[in-house]
């Protein structure tokens, strides 16, 4: 059945509400391809993301989720095909996005210092920085740890710091790659709460995960990837109750896909 030949012009998923005023949406991909050394890492993916809800890219490890996310953020460039955020190219759109990679890089500074660094890079006037930092740390629940060296934080705290740092200037889109891998359940809960809060404040969430339960908890719509292809894109309700793609169905059943 579906193997990535989704036409990207039409709105395929009327059940997903469209964000009309979002500066970067819809995110449209057409025949996206990414090769390295002759190896196809992303095979001919097309999709259309228009809703302002939390889009989750779900799939087993090795499916190509991380690569797809990095293509969307512009850290790597497609070998072929098109990718646009609303009216903007990927390069133009990056300034209004923030990404939290699977292992966030924390600078060798304090917790507050990490947030301040971003503000400095984005040339935010000095007077405003202190308040922004304080607000970001509060959102992450890290206010008491403001002067601790960032790299001495626990895994969950580091993740929350990375998200807070990413969101300090209210980006239009937040991309997260497997944000809770290796975290204990308490930390997972805290991080997911942060993601919900950020999304509720108006930021579009695009995240990857291999954790079906997490996808169930967080997704408004799901893009199912397997073996470097996009197999299905549906609202969460639709996807989890009756997936159209049989590979997706097997995945949801707990089968190990090869």
């Amino acid at each position: 059945m579906a193997n990535g030949a989704h036409p990207a012009e039409k709105r395929e998923y009327p059940e997903l509400a469209t964000a009309n005023d979002h500066p970067l949406l819809p995110l449209v991909a057409r025949q996206l391809r990414f090769d390295i050394n002759g190896c196809q890492i992303i095979r001919n993916i097309s999709f259309w993301i228009g809703s302002s809800g939390r889009t989750v890219i779900l799939g087993p490890n090795g499916a190509g989720k991380t690569v797809l996310l990095r293509l969307c953020h512009g850290l790597i460039h497609p070998t072929d095909g098109e990718l646009r955020w609303g009216d903007l190219s990927v390069a133009e759109a990056r300034a209004q996005q923030a990404m939290v990679p699977q292992r966030p890089v924390l600078l060798r500074r304090s917790v507050a210092g990490n947030v301040q660094h971003v503000l400095g890079v984005k040339r935010v006037p000095r007077k405003q920085r202190q308040d922004l930092v304080a607000a970001a740390l509060e959102q992450a629940g890290l206010t008491s740890l403001a002067s601790r060296p960032a790299r001495t934080l626990s895994g969950g705290q580091q993740q929350r710091l990375a998200i807070a740092r990413a969101c300090v200037l209210r980006p239009a889109v937040l991309l997260l790659d497997e944000p809770t891998t290796n975290l204990d359940p308490g930390a997972v809960r805290e991080v997911e709460e942060m993601i919900r809060a950020v999304g509720a404040a108006g930021t579009k969430i695009l995240m990857t995960t291999h954790d079906i339960a997490q996808a169930r908890r967080l997704a408004s719509d799901v893009m199912f990837l397997n073996d470097r292809r996009l197999l299905e894109h549906a609202s969460a309700a639709e996807f989890f109750s009756s997936p159209k793609d049989e590979v997706a169905a097997r995945f949801l059943d707990g089968e190990l896909l090869d």
Binding site: L75, L107, R108, R109, V121, P149, R151, T152
Partner: protein, 238 residues
């Protein structure tokens, strides 16, 4: 009695008495040694730190060869540098008219050259390692190249400082080059290492050894401090 042991205990006695009485001769050569080596390190760092960062961050054709060369130059024999600087500064040489031979300036020049590859190579390594780690994050948040460099220099400051102190340790212990270009002139270009060489050549072994002990303590203190700093920074910032 074993002459070696006797020498050693007189050496410690000589060293202590010189330090306690703040022997003016000792103070003079220690201050000159410090002045020359510190100047050399500062001058070398001003060029080596940015150059190391540049090599680390800016790809260019032949970069690998340059990196190998830089690392190899760390092993440049100081006495050879001394000889080359001597030929440069001698009146018979190209820079002769400047009259710099047998002055502390000549010694600073020679030591700067010796120390430069050490600082440049270590700075390149530090920046390259940090760049590999930070690059994606810095690109993601939209750093300009200048902002990137400043971020890397700032976050690498302790490792860079350790590299600089390694250079200082090399400079203060050096004797071949400064002897050739400085001439070991009393009250002028005589430093700790050349004094040790001179006193040894006069057969005043206890005195030479005493000075040597002081030099060892000085060098160990510098290296020890560098170690403590980098250790503390490592534990604190990771």
């Amino acid at each position: 009695m074993n002459p070696g042991v006797n020498e050693f205990s007189s050496a410690i006695g000589a060293a202590i008495s010189m330090i306690v009485t703040l022997d003016p001769g000792l103070v003079e050569i220690v201050l000159l040694s410090l002045r020359i080596s510190l100047s050399a390190v500062i001058i070398a760092s001003i060029v080596a730190l940015p150059l190391g960062a540049l090599i680390a961050l800016q790809p260019f054709p032949g970069r690998r060869g340059v990196v190998v060369l830089l690392n190899a130059l760390m092993g440049l024999p100081p006495v050879v540098v001394g000889l080359m600087v001597y030929l440069l500064l001698s009146r018979a040489g190209p820079l002769g008219p400047m009259g710099l031979l047998f002055t502390p300036t000549a010694m600073i020049i020679a030591q700067s050259i010796i120390v430069f590859p050490i600082i440049a190579a270590l700075s390149r390594q530090t920046i390259a390692d940090l760049h590999e780690e930070y690059d994606e994050h810095l690109r993601s948040i939209g750093c300009t190249p200048m902002q990137s460099v400043l971020t890397l220099l700032r976050d690498g400051r302790y490792r860079l400082l350790t590299g600089i102190m390694a250079g200082f340790g090399r400079a203060i212990a050096e004797v071949g080059a400064v002897l050739i270009v400085g001439g070991n002139i009393l009250h002028s270009t005589r430093v700790m290492t050349t004094t040790i060489a001179l006193e040894t050549s006069k057969g005043n072994l206890a005195l030479a050894l005493g000075l040597g002990l002081i030099l060892v303590v000085l060098a160990l203190s510098v290296n020890g401090t560098a170690l403590v700093i980098s250790d503390a920074a490592q534990r604190r910032y990771g």
